[in-house]
C-alpha cells in the first residue's frame, strides 16, 4: 500500500499517541497500556514495510472483541472508566489503521476528547501545560497534512501565530461566558483514593509521609494561625483491634449517610439529643473567629479538612466528631470557604459514643497494664497518669522516626518498652490505649498538621507528608486535643515534619527528584515557592472561576467605567478580541495603497468591463478609453478627456499637491458623468 503519510506526520502522530497514553496512564488498566504499546509497535512496523495493515473485516471483528474485553475488564471501576477505556481503544485502533487523511482527522478529534478526559482528573498548572502541549501536537499533525509544502520552521511559525492569535478570543470567552449548571449527573470513577484512609495502623501514615503530593492549599481572611495550632481535622478513629484504628459502626453510619446525600438528617437528630441533655451549651453561641478558603486537590472522597471548629453549611455536613464532609466527593480541584468558630455549639456527645471511646480489645499488652497499675498504686489519678506518660515520652529515650522497627503482637508493649521509636501514630496509639485503659474516653484524630507558608505569606500549602495523627480525650465535658508527638518531637508540631525527624535523611527518602526534598537549596526553594504561587493563582482564578467570580470581576471592570453596562462590556470585550485577530491576520496597514486616480479608473472600468469591453493585457488607459469611446453610448470626448487627465495626474512631473487635488476632483466628476451615460 502506498504510504500517504510523510515521515514527519507519522512521527508526530506517534509522538502524540505516546504522550496521550502516558497522560492517561493513571486512569488506564495495565492491559490497555500494553495493548497501546503493541499498537504503536505494529504501526511503526507497517511504516517500515515489515507488516501490512490489517484488512477491514479483521479490524472490525477485532474492535468488537476488544470493546467487549475492555468493558469486562473495567466494568467494576464505573462508567467514567469504561468511557475512558473505550475512547482510548478507539484512539489506539484508529492509530493502528491510519489509511487516509480522514482517519488522521478522526485520530486528532479523539485525541482532543482524550485530552479533555485527562483534564477531568488533572488540573494543576503543570498538568494543564502538558495538556496544552498535547493539544498543540495534535494541531501540528494537521499542519503536517494540510501544509506539507512548508518547511519545518515555517510550520512552527504558522502554528505559533495561529495559537497566539486564538488566545485573546479564548480568554474573553472564558471570562465572559456564564457557566451552566451540570445538566445531568456524570459518572465518577471508583478511583483509588489518595490521602488519608479510614483506618490507621502504624505504617500507613509513614507511607503518606513519603509523598510530597499537594493535599490542599489554604488562605485566610484574618490572621494566619500559628503552625502549632494548625491541626486540620479530617477523620476520627475510635475502634481499636490491637493493631489498627478504624471507625466505629456509628461513625461509619454517618459517613454512609453523607455518601448517599442524607447528611443533614443526622444533624437534626443530634440537635434533638442535645436539647434534651445539655441545655447549657446552647446558651453560649459560637462566634466566628476567622474565615479561610481551602483549595483541595481531588481525593475522590467526601473529606474536607477543617480547623476546629467548623459549621455545616449548604452542601456540607458536620459529623458528630466535628469533622466536615462534602455532600459530593471531591473529584476535581475545588475551592471551599470555611468559617472558623471558637467553639462547637451544636453537637455534644451521646452516651453511646462516649462508651465507644472507651473500647479496647480484651487482653494483651500486659507490660503496659502493669505500668498503669504501678502508677495507680502510687496514688495518681487518671489524668495525672496520662501526663506521666507524656513525660515518659519526653524524658526517656524515645525517638521520632519514619522508619521504626516492626512491632510484635503486643504492639503497645513493644513500642513503649522495647523499640521506643516511631512516629505520630505510634505515640497517639499508645496514649489512647493508656487513656482508655484508665477509663478516660479518648479517640484518635487524623488529619494534617501545619503546612508551608509561601514567601509572601498569602497561602499555606499542605502536603501529604504533613499528615498527622493526634488524640482527643473527654475532659470537663468536652473533647480536648492532646498531641503526644509534641512531647517527643516538638519541632514536628512547630516547624514541620522535616525538622521533627531525628534523622532528616528519612524525609522523602527515595524521592531524590522531589523538589521538596531539597529544601536547603535556596534557589530551588525560591523556584518551588514561585511555582507554588502560580499554581495557587491558577487554582483560584482558573480552575475555580465561577459565575460568582465572573460577576465580581466584571463588576470591578465596570466600576472604573460608569458609562458601561454589563452587556455592552461583554460585547466590547468580544469585539476587541475579534478585531485584534482580524487586524493581525490581514494587516490592513501593510496593503499597498491604490493611488486615487487608479481607484477612479477602476470604478469606471468595473462598469465598462461588465457592459462593453475588457481591457487587454498591456493596453494603456488611453488606448482602452479610445477603444471604449467607439463602443459606448457615452460621449467619446468625455472618455478621451478622462484618459488625458488621468495621464496628467499620473505622469506629469512637478505636480503640486493642490494642483493634484484639483485635477483629481475633475477626474472624479468626469468619471461620474461617464458612468451615468453608460
Amino acid at each position: 500500500m502506498l504510504e500517504f503519510l510523510t515521515r514527519q506526520s507519522l512521527s508526530l502522530i506517534l509522538l502524540s499517541y505516546a504522550l496521550i497514553m502516558v497522560l492517561l496512564t493513571d486512569q488506564l488498566h495495565s492491559v490497555m497500556i500494553i495493548f497501546g504499546l503493541l499498537c504503536a509497535l505494529w504501526r511503526v512496523a507497517v511504516f517500515t514495510g515489515r507488516v501490512a495493515l490489517l484488512n477491514k473485516l479483521i479490524t472490525n471483528i477485532f474492535t468488537l472483541i476488544c470493546s467487549a474485553l475492555v468493558i469486562a475488564l473495567v466494568y467494576q471501576q464505573g462508567m467514567l472508566s469504561i468511557l475512558v477505556h473505550l475512547v482510548v481503544l478507539g484512539f489506539s485502533l484508529k492509530f493502528l489503521e491510519l489509511k487516509s487523511v480522514r482517519d488522521v482527522h478522526f485520530f486528532v478529534n479523539t485525541g482532543f476528547v482524550l485530552v479533555a478526559l485527562f483534564l477531568v482528573f488533572n488540573q494543576s498548572i503543570l498538568m494543564a501545560g502538558i495538556a496544552m502541549v498535547s493539544t498543540l501536537l495534535l494541531l501540528t499533525i494537521l499542519l503536517s497534512l494540510h501544509a506539507k509544502a512548508l518547511a519545518n520552521y515555517q510550520q512552527f511559525k504558522l502554528l505559533s501565530k495561529a495559537v497566539l492569535l486564538s488566545v485573546p478570543l479564548a480568554v474573553v470567552l472564558f471570562v465572559v461566558l456564564p457557566r451552566l449548571p451540570s445538566m445531568w449527573k456524570m459518572p465518577l470513577q471508583n478511583k483509588a483514593t489518595t490521602g488519608l484512609s479510614d483506618s490507621v495502623s502504624p505504617g500507613s501514615i509513614a507511607e503518606l509521609s513519603q509523598s510530597s503530593e499537594l493535599a490542599f492549599r489554604a488562605s485566610f481572611d484574618g490572621k494566619i494561625p500559628a503552625a502549632a495550632t494548625r491541626y486540620w481535622r479530617v477523620l476520627t478513629l475510635d475502634q481499636f483491634d490491637g493493631k489498627t484504628w478504624t471507625q466505629s459502626s456509628q461513625l461509619k453510619y454517618q459517613e454512609q449517610q453523607v455518601k448517599i446525600g442524607k447528611g443533614p438528617i443526622f444533624n437534626r437528630g443530634s440537635l434533638q439529643y442535645q436539647s434534651k441533655n445539655t441545655r447549657s451549651s446552647t446558651q453560649s453561641v459560637a462566634t466566628k473567629e476567622n474565615s479561610y478558603q481551602i483549595i483541595i486537590e481531588p481525593h475522590y472522597k467526601h473529606y474536607l479538612p477543617s480547623l476546629d471548629f467548623a459549621k455545616a453549611t449548604a452542601g456540607r455536613v458536620l459529623l458528630s466528631d466535628y469533622s466536615l464532609r462534602t455532600l459530593k466527593p471531591v473529584f476535581k480541584r475545588q475551592a471551599f470557604t470555611i468559617d472558623q468558630f471558637n467553639q462547637v455549639d451544636q453537637i455534644s456527645q451521646s452516651p453511646q459514643s462516649l462508651k465507644q471511646s472507651l473500647q479496647l480489645p480484651t487482653g494483651g499488652n500486659p507490660k503496659t497494664k502493669a505500668w498503669i497499675a504501678t502508677q495507680q498504686a502510687s496514688g495518681l489519678d487518671s489524668y495525672s497518669i496520662l501526663e506521666q506518660l507524656l513525660a515518659k515520652f519526653n524524658q526517656e529515650n524515645f525517638r521520632y522516626t519514619l522508619k521504626p522497627a516492626l512491632l510484635g503482637e503486643q504492639q503497645i508493649d513493644d513500642f513503649l518498652f522495647t523499640s521506643q521509636a516511631g512516629f505520630c501514630v505510634h505515640y497517639a496509639s499508645t496514649y489512647l490505649y493508656v487513656a482508655r485503659a484508665l477509663n478516660v474516653p479518648a479517640r484518635m484524630v487524623t488529619g494534617y498538621l501545619g503546612g508551608e507558608l509561601d514567601s509572601d505569606s498569602e497561602f499555606l500549602s499542605v502536603r501529604q507528608y504533613d499528615a498527622h495523627a493526634w488524640v482527643e480525650i473527654w475532659k470537663n465535658q468536652q473533647w480536648q486535643r492532646v498531641d503526644p508527638t509534641a512531647y517527643v518531637a516538638p519541632e514536628r508540631v512547630e516547624q514541620g515534619i522535616m525538622q521533627g525527624l531525628d534523622d532528616q535523611s528519612e524525609f522523602l527518602s527515595g524521592q531524590y527528584l522531589s523538589i521538596h526534598r531539597w529544601q536547603a537549596n535556596p534557589f530551588l526553594n525560591q523556584l518551588r515557592s514561585a511555582f507554588a504561587k502560580a499554581d495557587y493563582l491558577w487554582a483560584v482564578w482558573v480552575i475555580n472561576y465561577d459565575n460568582e467570580k465572573q460577576f465580581k470581576l466584571l463588576q470591578n471592570l465596570l466600576k472604573g467605567l460608569p458609562w458601561l453596562n454589563l452587556s455592552i462590556l461583554i460585547l466590547l470585550l468580544l469585539l476587541s478580541a475579534a478585531s485584534i485577530l482580524i487586524l493581525w491576520v490581514f494587516k490592513p496597514w501593510q496593503t499597498e495603497k491604490v493611488p486615487s486616480e487608479d481607484r477612479l479608473f477602476n470604478k469606471l472600468y468595473q462598469k465598462s468591463a461588465q457592459q462593453h469591453l475588457i481591457r487587454e493585457k498591456g493596453q494603456t488607459i488611453a488606448d482602452y478609453c479610445h477603444a471604449l469611446s467607439q463602443l459606448t453610448t457615452a460621449e467619446p470626448q468625455l472618455l478621451i478627456d478622462f484618459a488625458k487627465l488621468y495621464n496628467q495626474i499620473k505622469f506629469k512631473p512637478n505636480l503640486s499637491a493642490t494642483q493634484r487635488k484639483r485635477l483629481l476632483v475633475e477626474l472624479n466628476e468626469l468619471q461620474k458623468k461617464i458612468s451615468k451615460q453608460f
Binding site: 478529534n109 477531568v120 488540573q123 494537521l142 494540510h146 486564538s166 478570543l169 479564548a170 457557566r179 475555580n544
Partner: protein, 322 residues
C-alpha cells in the same frame, strides 16, 4: 426519480446563479465576492467534538475543559481567516489554448500570480472532472486537464479552485469561469489509403519537380568557402580542374488530394480520423496536399498553417458551431 429531477433543477439554478455572480472572465483576483468558505467535513467533526467536550466540561464543572473548548473554537475562527487569506488576492489569468486531439487529455493553462507565502496547497480542477489527472501546479502556472471524445469545440466549463490550507478545518473554494475552450481534432487513425487519394482528381504537375536534396547527383558547381569537404569533387581536383562541389537533388512526391468521399466502408468519424492521420503524415513527408470534404475544399499547399486549416476543417466537419 423526483430526487434526481430536483437535483438537476438545483444544479441548473446554481449554475444560473453562478453565472450571474461570476461571469466568464479572462483574469480574476480572488476576494470576498468570489470565494466561498465553509467548515470542511473535519471542521464539522471538530465542532461536534467541541460540543461533546463542552458537555463533559459543563457536567463536571471543569473550567479547564471549557478553556480547551474555547481555545479550539477560537482557533477555528483564526483558521477561518487564515484559510481565506491564503486564497484571497490570488490572481489567475487564462492563457489561450492550442488545438488538441481527442485521444488525449486536453491541456488548459492558467497563469498564477500570488502574494509571497500565500496560495499554499491549492487544488485546481474542472468542476466537471473528466480526466484522471486533474492538474499540474507549479510556481507560476497551472496546467489543467480535461478529456473529451467529441471533436470540435470543447468547453471544459468552470474551474474549481479550492484549498484546505492550513489546518484542514475549512474549505475555501470557488468556481471560476475562464471561458476556456479549445478545438479538438479527431484522434489520427493510422491507415494506408494512399492509393485511393491518388485519384483522377490529382493535378499531375508534380512528379517532376526537383529540389536540392541528397538522392541523385546533378551537377558540379564551383566550391565556396564553408561548404562541406565531403562534397568536394576530389576527382576533378586531381585532374587539376580546380575545386568543385557535387550537387545532389531529390524528387518531390506528387501532389495529393485527400477526399472524404473516396473513403468507403467506415463511419464518418473514422473517415475523419483517417484524414487527420493523412494530413499529418503528408505534412511530415513534405508532400503537397489538398483536402476535399464536400462542402469545404482546400487547395493543394503545404506548411504548418495549411495543416492547421485542414485539421480545423476536418474537426469542424458537419458541426454547426463552426
Amino acid at each position: 426519480m423526483i430526487v434526481h429531477k430536483l437535483k438537476a433543477l438545483k444544479a441548473k439554478y446554481f449554475e444560473r446563479w453562478l453565472s450571474k455572480r461570476m461571469p466568464a472572465v479572462e483574469q480574476i483576483t480572488l476576494n470576498r465576492s468570489n470565494t466561498f468558505i465553509f467548515p470542511s467535513r473535519f471542521g464539522g467533526m471538530l465542532l461536534a467534538t467541541c460540543l461533546v467536550m463542552f458537555l463533559i466540561g459543563t457536567n463536571y464543572q471543569n473550567n479547564l475543559i471549557l478553556l480547551l473548548v474555547f481555545f479550539l473554537l477560537s482557533f477555528m475562527v483564526t483558521c477561518l481567516l487564515f484559510s481565506y487569506q491564503n486564497l484571497s488576492g490570488l490572481n489567475l489569468t487564462a492563457v489561450a489554448s492550442d488545438d488538441q486531439f481527442t485521444d488525449q487529455a486536453s491541456i488548459f493553462r492558467l497563469r498564477v500570480n500570488a502574494k509571497k507565502g500565500d496560495a499554499q496547497q491549492i487544488q485546481y480542477f474542472f468542476k466537471n472532472s473528466t480526466s484522471n489527472i486533474n492538474s499540474v501546479v507549479d510556481q507560476q502556472s497551472v496546467q489543467l486537464f480535461a478529456k473529451s471524445t467529441q471533436r470540435g469545440w470543447f468547453k471544459p466549463g468552470r474551474v474549481t479552485v479550492q484549498s484546505y490550507y492550513p489546518f484542514g478545518l475549512f474549505k475555501v473554494w470557488t468556481y471560476l469561469d475562464f471561458g476556456f475552450s479549445c478545438l479538438l481534432y479527431p484522434a489520427p487513425l493510422e491507415n494506408k489509403l494512399q492509393s485511393i487519394t491518388l485519384s483522377g482528381k490529382e493535378t499531375a504537375i508534380g512528379g517532376h519537380q526537383k529540389k536540392v536534396g541528397f538522392d541523385t547527383f546533378n551537377h558540379l558547381k564551383p566550391f565556396q568557402q564553408g561548404e562541406s569537404l565531403k562534397s568536394i569533387a576530389w576527382k576533378q581536383v586531381a585532374q587539376g580542374k580546380g575545386f568543385f562541389t557535387k550537387q545532389f537533388e531529390q524528387e518531390i512526391g506528387g501532389d495529393v488530394y485527400l477526399s472524404l468521399s473516396a473513403l468507403k466502408g467506415v463511419s464518418l468519424e473514422d473517415k475523419l480520423a483517417m484524414l487527420t492521420y493523412q494530413v499529418i503524415n503528408y505534412q511530415q513527408q513534405g508532400v503537397r496536399y489538398g483536402l476535399d470534404l464536400g462542402q469545404v475544399v482546400i487547395k493543394v499547399d503545404t506548411g504548418a498553417s495549411h495543416q492547421t486549416t485542414c485539421l480545423r476543417a476536418i474537426a469542424l466537419y458537419g458541426l454547426n458551431n463552426a
